[in-house]
Amino acid sequence: MEDKKEEKKFTTISIPTALAEKIKKRIEGTGFHSLSAYVTYVLRELLASMEEEEASEALTKEEEEKIKERLRALGYLD
Protein backbone atom coordinates (compact mmCIF):
# COMPACT_ATOMS: atom_id res chain seq x y z
CA MET A 1 0.00 0.00 0.00
CA GLU A 2 1.30 3.43 -0.91
CA ASP A 3 2.06 6.01 1.72
CA LYS A 4 -0.71 8.53 2.04
CA LYS A 5 0.01 12.19 1.59
CA GLU A 6 -0.47 14.19 4.75
CA GLU A 7 -3.47 16.51 4.62
CA LYS A 8 -2.65 19.54 6.70
CA LYS A 9 -5.71 20.91 8.41
CA PHE A 10 -5.20 24.52 9.37
CA THR A 11 -7.51 27.44 9.05
CA THR A 12 -7.16 31.20 9.45
CA ILE A 13 -8.98 33.04 12.20
CA SER A 14 -9.06 36.81 12.48
CA ILE A 15 -8.40 38.54 15.78
CA PRO A 16 -8.07 42.28 16.47
CA THR A 17 -4.59 43.61 15.68
CA ALA A 18 -4.30 45.24 19.10
CA LEU A 19 -4.94 41.88 20.76
CA ALA A 20 -2.42 40.20 18.47
CA GLU A 21 0.21 42.79 19.43
CA LYS A 22 -0.53 42.25 23.11
CA ILE A 23 -0.12 38.49 22.70
CA LYS A 24 3.12 38.92 20.79
CA LYS A 25 4.52 40.88 23.73
CA ARG A 26 3.27 38.30 26.17
CA ILE A 27 5.03 35.38 24.46
CA GLU A 28 8.38 37.10 24.14
CA GLY A 29 11.05 34.98 25.78
CA THR A 30 8.73 32.01 26.29
CA GLY A 31 8.91 28.71 24.42
CA PHE A 32 6.07 29.78 22.13
CA HIS A 33 7.57 30.64 18.79
CA SER A 34 4.50 32.13 17.12
CA LEU A 35 1.25 33.85 17.77
CA SER A 36 -0.59 30.89 16.24
CA ALA A 37 1.12 28.39 18.56
CA TYR A 38 0.10 30.40 21.61
CA VAL A 39 -3.48 31.01 20.47
CA THR A 40 -3.84 27.30 19.67
CA TYR A 41 -2.57 26.47 23.16
CA VAL A 42 -4.94 28.90 24.89
CA LEU A 43 -7.97 27.72 22.93
CA ARG A 44 -7.11 24.06 23.55
CA GLU A 45 -6.78 24.83 27.26
CA LEU A 46 -10.12 26.56 27.34
CA LEU A 47 -11.85 23.66 25.60
CA ALA A 48 -10.03 21.20 27.85
CA SER A 49 -11.21 22.88 31.03
CA MET A 50 -14.77 22.82 29.75
CA GLU A 51 -14.46 19.14 28.87
CA GLU A 52 -12.85 18.43 32.24
CA GLU A 53 -15.85 19.92 34.02
CA GLU A 54 -18.11 17.62 32.07
CA ALA A 55 -15.84 14.63 32.70
CA SER A 56 -15.61 15.15 36.46
CA GLU A 57 -19.35 14.69 36.56
CA ALA A 58 -18.86 11.37 34.79
CA LEU A 59 -17.51 9.59 37.91
CA THR A 60 -20.61 8.59 39.83
CA LYS A 61 -20.68 8.19 43.62
CA GLU A 62 -20.92 4.41 43.16
CA GLU A 63 -17.89 4.35 40.85
CA GLU A 64 -15.89 6.47 43.26
CA GLU A 65 -16.82 4.21 46.18
CA LYS A 66 -15.86 1.14 44.16
CA ILE A 67 -12.46 2.67 43.42
CA LYS A 68 -11.91 3.53 47.08
CA GLU A 69 -12.91 0.01 48.09
CA ARG A 70 -10.27 -1.47 45.80
CA LEU A 71 -7.66 1.01 47.05
CA ARG A 72 -8.47 0.00 50.64
CA ALA A 73 -8.37 -3.71 49.80
CA LEU A 74 -4.92 -3.30 48.25
CA GLY A 75 -3.65 -1.33 51.23
CA TYR A 76 -3.29 1.99 49.42
CA LEU A 77 -5.90 3.65 51.63
CA ASP A 78 -6.57 3.10 55.34
Binding site: M1, D3, T40, R44, E45, S49, E51, E54, A58, L71
Partner: protein
Protein backbone atom coordinates in the same frame (compact mmCIF):
# COMPACT_ATOMS: atom_id res chain seq x y z
CA UNK B 1 -4.56 17.96 40.35
CA UNK B 2 -3.50 18.54 36.73
CA UNK B 3 -5.99 18.07 33.95
CA UNK B 4 -5.43 14.88 31.96
CA UNK B 5 -3.44 15.36 28.77
CA UNK B 6 -5.71 16.83 26.11
CA UNK B 7 -8.19 17.83 28.80
CA UNK B 8 -10.23 14.68 29.32
CA UNK B 9 -9.42 11.33 30.86
CA UNK B 10 -10.31 8.77 28.24
CA UNK B 11 -12.41 5.83 29.35
CA UNK B 12 -12.94 3.25 26.64
CA UNK B 13 -13.82 0.40 29.01
CA UNK B 14 -17.14 -1.32 28.47
CA UNK B 15 -16.33 -4.49 30.36
CA UNK B 16 -18.56 -7.53 30.02
CA UNK B 17 -18.62 -11.00 31.52
CA UNK B 18 -19.11 -12.78 28.22
CA UNK B 19 -18.01 -11.62 24.84
CA UNK B 20 -19.22 -13.50 21.80
CA UNK B 21 -16.75 -13.14 18.96
CA UNK B 22 -17.96 -16.07 16.92
CA UNK B 23 -18.38 -15.25 13.20
CA UNK B 24 -16.52 -11.96 13.70
CA UNK B 25 -13.08 -11.03 12.43
CA UNK B 26 -10.66 -11.39 15.33
CA UNK B 27 -7.11 -10.13 15.15
CA UNK B 28 -4.65 -11.69 17.55
CA UNK B 29 -2.33 -9.09 19.06
CA UNK B 30 0.93 -9.59 20.94
CA UNK B 31 1.68 -8.53 24.51
CA UNK B 32 2.89 -5.04 23.59
CA UNK B 33 -0.22 -4.21 21.56
CA UNK B 34 -2.51 -5.74 24.17
CA UNK B 35 -0.92 -3.44 26.75
CA UNK B 36 -1.44 -0.51 24.38
CA UNK B 37 -5.14 -1.38 24.12
CA UNK B 38 -5.57 -1.44 27.90
CA UNK B 39 -3.57 1.76 28.35
CA UNK B 40 -5.73 3.53 25.78
CA UNK B 41 -8.95 2.20 27.32
CA UNK B 42 -7.99 3.21 30.86
CA UNK B 43 -6.79 6.68 29.91
CA UNK B 44 -3.05 6.20 30.42
CA UNK B 45 -2.61 7.39 26.83
CA UNK B 46 -5.26 10.15 27.03
CA UNK B 47 -6.27 11.83 24.74
CA UNK B 48 -5.85 8.80 22.43
CA UNK B 49 -9.02 6.80 22.01
CA UNK B 50 -7.48 4.28 19.68
CA UNK B 51 -4.51 3.47 17.49
CA UNK B 52 -3.21 6.40 15.43
CA UNK B 53 -4.53 7.13 11.99
CA UNK B 54 -2.27 8.44 9.25
CA UNK B 55 -2.54 12.20 9.80
CA UNK B 56 -1.93 11.92 13.52
CA UNK B 57 1.03 9.61 12.90
CA UNK B 58 2.53 11.99 10.34
CA UNK B 59 2.21 14.87 12.78
CA UNK B 60 3.76 12.82 15.56
CA UNK B 61 6.70 11.97 13.31
CA UNK B 62 7.22 15.46 11.91
CA UNK B 63 6.11 17.76 14.73
CA UNK B 64 5.90 15.56 17.85
CA UNK B 65 2.26 16.55 18.12
CA UNK B 66 -1.11 15.07 17.20
CA UNK B 67 -3.07 16.55 14.35
CA UNK B 68 -4.84 18.93 16.78
CA UNK B 69 -1.45 20.16 18.07
CA UNK B 70 -1.54 18.25 21.38
CA UNK B 71 2.02 17.17 22.30
CA UNK B 72 2.57 13.49 21.47
CA UNK B 73 5.93 11.96 20.65
CA UNK B 74 5.64 8.18 20.44
CA UNK B 75 3.54 6.49 17.74
CA UNK B 76 0.90 4.19 19.22
CA UNK B 77 0.19 2.13 16.14
CA UNK B 78 -1.19 -1.27 15.28
CA UNK B 79 0.59 -3.26 12.58
CA UNK B 80 -1.11 -6.05 10.66
CA UNK B 81 -0.65 -8.34 7.69
CA UNK B 82 -3.14 -8.19 4.86
CA UNK B 83 -4.06 -11.85 5.50
CA UNK B 84 -4.86 -11.18 9.15
CA UNK B 85 -7.44 -8.60 8.16
CA UNK B 86 -9.45 -11.34 6.45
CA UNK B 87 -11.07 -8.85 4.12
CA UNK B 88 -11.92 -6.30 6.82
CA UNK B 89 -11.96 -2.79 5.40
CA UNK B 90 -12.19 0.80 6.57
CA UNK B 91 -15.50 1.29 8.38
CA UNK B 92 -15.65 -2.30 9.66
CA UNK B 93 -15.47 -3.31 13.30
CA UNK B 94 -13.16 -6.14 14.31
CA UNK B 95 -12.10 -7.74 17.57
CA UNK B 96 -8.61 -7.62 19.03
CA UNK B 97 -7.74 -10.62 21.20
CA UNK B 98 -4.65 -11.58 23.17
CA UNK B 99 -3.29 -14.70 24.86
CA UNK B 100 -3.92 -13.19 28.31
CA UNK B 101 -7.67 -13.09 27.62
CA UNK B 102 -7.89 -9.42 26.63
CA UNK B 103 -10.72 -8.71 24.19
CA UNK B 104 -11.40 -5.36 22.58
CA UNK B 105 -13.43 -4.03 19.72
CA UNK B 106 -11.84 -1.79 17.12
CA UNK B 107 -13.56 0.41 14.57
CA UNK B 108 -11.22 0.50 11.58
CA UNK B 109 -11.05 4.10 10.55
CA UNK B 110 -8.08 3.79 8.27
CA UNK B 111 -5.74 1.19 6.77
CA UNK B 112 -2.43 2.59 5.61
CA UNK B 113 1.19 1.91 4.91
CA UNK B 114 4.27 3.81 5.95
CA UNK B 115 7.98 3.69 5.24
CA UNK B 116 9.37 1.87 8.28
CA UNK B 117 12.89 3.23 7.80
CA UNK B 118 11.57 6.77 7.97
CA UNK B 119 9.37 5.88 10.93
CA UNK B 120 12.41 4.51 12.80
CA UNK B 121 14.61 7.47 11.93
CA UNK B 122 12.04 10.03 13.06
CA UNK B 123 11.27 8.31 16.36
CA UNK B 124 14.70 6.99 17.31
CA UNK B 125 16.94 9.41 15.44
CA UNK B 126 18.70 6.51 13.73
CA UNK B 127 18.16 3.77 11.17
CA UNK B 128 20.71 1.52 12.85
CA UNK B 129 19.12 -1.91 13.43
CA UNK B 130 21.31 -2.46 16.50
CA UNK B 131 19.03 0.04 18.26
CA UNK B 132 16.32 -2.13 19.89
CA UNK B 133 13.52 0.29 18.96
CA UNK B 134 14.65 0.44 15.35
CA UNK B 135 14.84 -3.33 15.13
CA UNK B 136 11.32 -3.58 16.64
CA UNK B 137 10.11 -1.13 13.98
CA UNK B 138 11.70 -3.14 11.15
CA UNK B 139 10.02 -6.27 12.55
CA UNK B 140 6.58 -4.66 12.32
CA UNK B 141 4.12 -5.93 9.75
CA UNK B 142 3.51 -3.99 6.55
CA UNK B 143 0.10 -2.42 7.15
CA UNK B 144 -1.21 -0.24 9.95
CA UNK B 145 -4.78 0.17 11.10
CA UNK B 146 -6.00 3.22 12.94
CA UNK B 147 -9.23 3.69 14.82
CA UNK B 148 -11.04 3.79 18.13
CA UNK B 149 -10.97 0.82 20.47
CA UNK B 150 -13.32 -0.36 23.19
CA UNK B 151 -12.03 -2.71 25.87
CA UNK B 152 -14.53 -5.50 26.52
CA UNK B 153 -12.48 -7.86 28.67
CA UNK B 154 -9.29 -7.16 30.58
CA UNK B 155 -6.29 -9.42 30.20
CA UNK B 156 -4.94 -11.39 33.15
CA UNK B 157 -1.98 -9.70 34.77
CA UNK B 158 0.80 -11.28 36.77
CA UNK B 159 1.05 -8.37 39.19
CA UNK B 160 -2.65 -7.49 39.36
CA UNK B 161 -2.40 -6.04 42.88
CA UNK B 162 0.20 -3.53 41.75
CA UNK B 163 -1.91 -2.20 38.88
CA UNK B 164 -3.58 1.16 39.37
CA UNK B 165 -5.21 3.05 36.51
CA UNK B 166 -5.35 6.88 36.25
CA UNK B 167 -8.90 7.03 37.64
CA UNK B 168 -7.62 5.18 40.71
CA UNK B 169 -4.40 7.13 41.24
CA UNK B 170 -6.27 10.41 40.84
CA UNK B 171 -8.79 9.31 43.48
CA UNK B 172 -5.96 8.08 45.69
CA UNK B 173 -3.96 11.30 45.49
CA UNK B 174 -7.10 13.31 46.21
CA UNK B 175 -7.96 11.13 49.21
CA UNK B 176 -4.44 11.55 50.55
CA UNK B 177 -4.73 15.30 50.17
CA UNK B 178 -1.77 15.45 47.77
CA UNK B 179 -1.81 18.42 45.44
CA UNK B 180 1.69 18.19 44.06
CA UNK B 181 2.89 14.72 43.17
CA UNK B 182 6.22 13.84 41.63
CA UNK B 183 6.49 10.75 39.45
CA UNK B 184 9.56 8.57 39.19
CA UNK B 185 9.90 6.26 36.22
CA UNK B 186 12.06 3.20 36.71
CA UNK B 187 13.00 -0.16 35.26
CA UNK B 188 15.57 -1.20 37.86
CA UNK B 189 15.70 -1.98 41.58
CA UNK B 190 16.61 1.12 43.57
CA UNK B 191 20.15 2.01 44.53
CA UNK B 192 21.09 4.80 46.92
CA UNK B 193 21.31 7.31 44.06
CA UNK B 194 17.68 6.68 43.10
CA UNK B 195 16.67 7.15 46.71
CA UNK B 196 18.53 10.46 46.81
CA UNK B 197 16.80 11.75 43.69
CA UNK B 198 13.36 10.64 44.87
CA UNK B 199 13.77 12.14 48.32
CA UNK B 200 15.24 15.36 46.97
CA UNK B 201 12.15 15.76 44.77
CA UNK B 202 9.75 14.68 47.51
CA UNK B 203 11.11 17.41 49.78
CA UNK B 204 9.30 19.99 47.65
CA UNK B 205 6.00 18.22 46.90
CA UNK B 206 3.27 16.35 48.78
CA UNK B 207 3.78 12.84 47.47
CA UNK B 208 6.05 10.55 45.48
CA UNK B 209 4.62 8.22 42.85
CA UNK B 210 7.04 5.41 42.03
CA UNK B 211 5.90 3.89 38.77
CA UNK B 212 8.06 0.98 37.58
CA UNK B 213 7.64 0.05 34.00
CA UNK B 214 6.72 -3.60 33.61
CA UNK B 215 6.86 -5.07 30.16
CA UNK B 216 9.01 -6.87 27.64
CA UNK B 217 12.59 -6.96 28.84
CA UNK B 218 16.06 -7.62 27.49
CA UNK B 219 18.22 -10.54 28.58
CA UNK B 220 20.18 -9.57 31.68
CA UNK B 221 17.58 -7.05 32.93
CA UNK B 222 16.20 -7.46 36.44
CA UNK B 223 13.03 -9.54 36.57
CA UNK B 224 9.84 -7.62 37.28
CA UNK B 225 9.10 -9.31 40.63
CA UNK B 226 12.63 -8.48 41.78
CA UNK B 227 12.15 -4.79 41.02
CA UNK B 228 8.81 -4.69 42.85
CA UNK B 229 10.02 -6.55 45.93
CA UNK B 230 13.20 -4.45 46.09
CA UNK B 231 11.10 -1.28 46.06
CA UNK B 232 8.70 -2.72 48.64
CA UNK B 233 11.70 -3.26 50.88
CA UNK B 234 13.08 0.26 50.36
CA UNK B 235 9.69 1.89 50.99
CA UNK B 236 9.03 -0.22 54.10
CA UNK B 237 12.38 0.59 55.64
CA UNK B 238 13.26 4.08 54.48
CA UNK B 239 10.22 6.06 53.33
CA UNK B 240 7.47 7.80 55.30
CA UNK B 241 4.37 5.64 54.77
CA UNK B 242 1.97 8.38 53.79
CA UNK B 243 4.21 10.08 51.30
CA UNK B 244 4.78 7.30 48.77
CA UNK B 245 2.64 5.28 46.39
CA UNK B 246 3.96 2.60 44.08
CA UNK B 247 2.04 1.04 41.25
CA UNK B 248 3.16 -0.43 37.97
CA UNK B 249 2.81 0.69 34.39
CA UNK B 250 2.51 -2.14 31.89
CA UNK B 251 4.12 -0.96 28.70
CA UNK B 252 7.29 -1.81 26.85
CA UNK B 253 10.39 0.37 26.79
CA UNK B 254 10.98 1.87 23.38
CA UNK B 255 14.47 3.25 24.15
CA UNK B 256 13.52 6.39 22.21
CA UNK B 257 15.50 8.68 24.54
CA UNK B 258 14.22 12.30 24.43
CA UNK B 259 10.96 11.51 22.66
CA UNK B 260 10.22 8.79 25.18
CA UNK B 261 10.98 11.13 28.10
CA UNK B 262 8.09 13.33 26.90
CA UNK B 263 5.88 10.26 26.50
CA UNK B 264 6.75 9.10 30.03
CA UNK B 265 5.88 12.54 31.38
CA UNK B 266 2.53 12.60 29.55
CA UNK B 267 1.53 9.23 30.98
CA UNK B 268 2.36 10.40 34.52
CA UNK B 269 0.36 13.58 33.99
CA UNK B 270 -2.60 11.34 33.19
CA UNK B 271 -2.01 9.49 36.46
CA UNK B 272 -2.43 12.85 38.21
CA UNK B 273 1.20 13.87 38.75
CA UNK B 274 2.33 17.49 38.62
CA UNK B 275 6.09 16.83 38.41
CA UNK B 276 8.22 14.28 36.61
CA UNK B 277 11.82 13.31 37.32
CA UNK B 278 14.04 13.20 34.25
CA UNK B 279 17.44 11.68 34.81
CA UNK B 280 20.60 11.49 32.79
CA UNK B 281 20.12 9.64 29.48
CA UNK B 282 16.45 9.05 30.26
CA UNK B 283 15.06 6.13 28.19
CA UNK B 284 18.37 5.93 26.36
CA UNK B 285 20.26 2.89 25.19
CA UNK B 286 23.95 2.46 24.38
CA UNK B 287 25.41 5.71 23.07
CA UNK B 288 22.54 6.61 20.77
CA UNK B 289 21.55 9.83 22.57
CA UNK B 290 23.29 12.76 24.13
CA UNK B 291 22.84 12.18 27.89
CA UNK B 292 21.00 15.49 28.31
CA UNK B 293 18.94 15.51 25.10
CA UNK B 294 16.04 14.22 27.21
CA UNK B 295 16.30 17.39 29.31
CA UNK B 296 16.54 19.83 26.41
CA UNK B 297 13.54 18.44 24.53
CA UNK B 298 11.21 19.78 27.24
CA UNK B 299 12.02 23.33 25.97
CA UNK B 300 10.00 22.49 22.89
CA UNK B 301 6.88 21.79 24.94
CA UNK B 302 5.89 24.88 26.92
CA UNK B 303 2.33 23.53 26.85
CA UNK B 304 3.06 20.10 28.37
CA UNK B 305 1.67 21.03 31.80
CA UNK B 306 3.78 18.72 33.88
CA UNK B 307 6.91 20.13 35.45
CA UNK B 308 10.08 18.24 34.62
CA UNK B 309 12.65 17.98 37.40
CA UNK B 310 16.03 17.50 35.79
CA UNK B 311 18.75 15.57 37.55
CA UNK B 312 22.28 15.40 36.25
CA UNK B 313 24.87 12.84 37.35
CA UNK B 314 24.84 12.03 41.03
CA UNK B 315 27.30 9.96 43.00
CA UNK B 316 28.49 9.14 46.50
CA UNK B 317 31.26 11.49 47.64
CA UNK B 318 33.62 10.06 50.25
CA UNK B 319 34.59 13.52 51.50
CA UNK B 320 31.04 14.90 51.61
CA UNK B 321 29.96 11.63 53.22
CA UNK B 322 26.74 11.29 51.22
CA UNK B 323 25.09 11.29 47.84
CA UNK B 324 25.66 14.53 45.95
CA UNK B 325 25.66 15.82 42.39
CA UNK B 326 28.15 17.77 40.33
CA UNK B 327 26.37 21.05 41.10
CA UNK B 328 26.76 20.81 44.86
CA UNK B 329 30.00 18.86 45.39
CA UNK B 330 33.36 20.65 45.19
CA UNK B 331 35.49 17.48 45.31
CA UNK B 332 37.29 15.65 42.56
CA UNK B 333 36.56 12.39 40.80
CA UNK B 334 38.96 10.53 43.11
CA UNK B 335 36.46 11.05 45.96
CA UNK B 336 33.43 9.93 43.99
CA UNK B 337 31.82 6.51 43.77
CA UNK B 338 29.53 6.25 40.77
CA UNK B 339 26.31 4.28 40.83
CA UNK B 340 27.28 1.98 38.04
CA UNK B 341 24.36 -0.28 37.18
CA UNK B 342 26.76 -2.71 35.54
CA UNK B 343 28.93 -2.89 38.67
CA UNK B 344 25.94 -3.36 40.99
CA UNK B 345 24.53 -6.07 38.71
CA UNK B 346 27.89 -7.83 38.61
CA UNK B 347 28.19 -7.89 42.41
CA UNK B 348 24.65 -9.20 42.82
CA UNK B 349 25.28 -11.81 40.14
CA UNK B 350 28.20 -13.04 42.26
CA UNK B 351 25.93 -13.17 45.31
CA UNK B 352 27.69 -10.22 46.96
CA UNK B 353 25.97 -7.38 48.81
CA UNK B 354 27.08 -4.04 47.28
CA UNK B 355 28.60 -1.51 49.70
CA UNK B 356 26.14 0.54 51.78
CA UNK B 357 26.98 3.73 49.89
CA UNK B 358 25.68 2.07 46.71
CA UNK B 359 22.69 0.01 47.80
CA UNK B 360 20.67 -0.41 50.96
CA UNK B 361 21.43 -3.74 52.61
CA UNK B 362 17.70 -4.61 52.87
CA UNK B 363 17.25 -3.98 49.15
CA UNK B 364 20.29 -6.09 48.23
CA UNK B 365 19.16 -8.93 50.50
CA UNK B 366 15.72 -8.88 48.90
CA UNK B 367 17.29 -9.14 45.45
CA UNK B 368 19.59 -11.95 46.54
CA UNK B 369 16.65 -13.88 48.03
CA UNK B 370 15.62 -14.70 44.45
CA UNK B 371 17.20 -17.78 42.84
CA UNK B 372 17.81 -15.82 39.68
CA UNK B 373 17.04 -12.10 39.76
CA UNK B 374 17.83 -11.64 36.07
CA UNK B 375 15.96 -12.26 32.84
CA UNK B 376 17.46 -15.27 31.06
Amino acid sequence: MPKPHGGRLVDRCRLREDVDIEDAIALKVNRDRSEDVENIAHGVFSPLEGFLCYNDLENVLENMRLDDDTPWTIPIILDVNKDELKGAKEGDTIFLIADNGMVAEMEIEEIYGIDKERLAEKVYGTKDPSHPGVSMTYDMKDLFIGGRITLLKEGKKVFEDYVLWPKETRTLFREKGWKDVVAFQTRNPPHVGHEYVQKAALTFVDGLFINPLIGRKKKGDFRDEVILKAYDSLIRNYYPKNRVVMSILCTSMKYAGPREAIHHAIMRKNFGCTHFIVGRDHAGVGNFYDPYAAHRIFDEFPDLEIIPLFFRSFFYCKRCGGVVNEKICPHGKEDHINFSGTKIRQMLREGKIPPAEMMRREVAETILSFDNPFVE
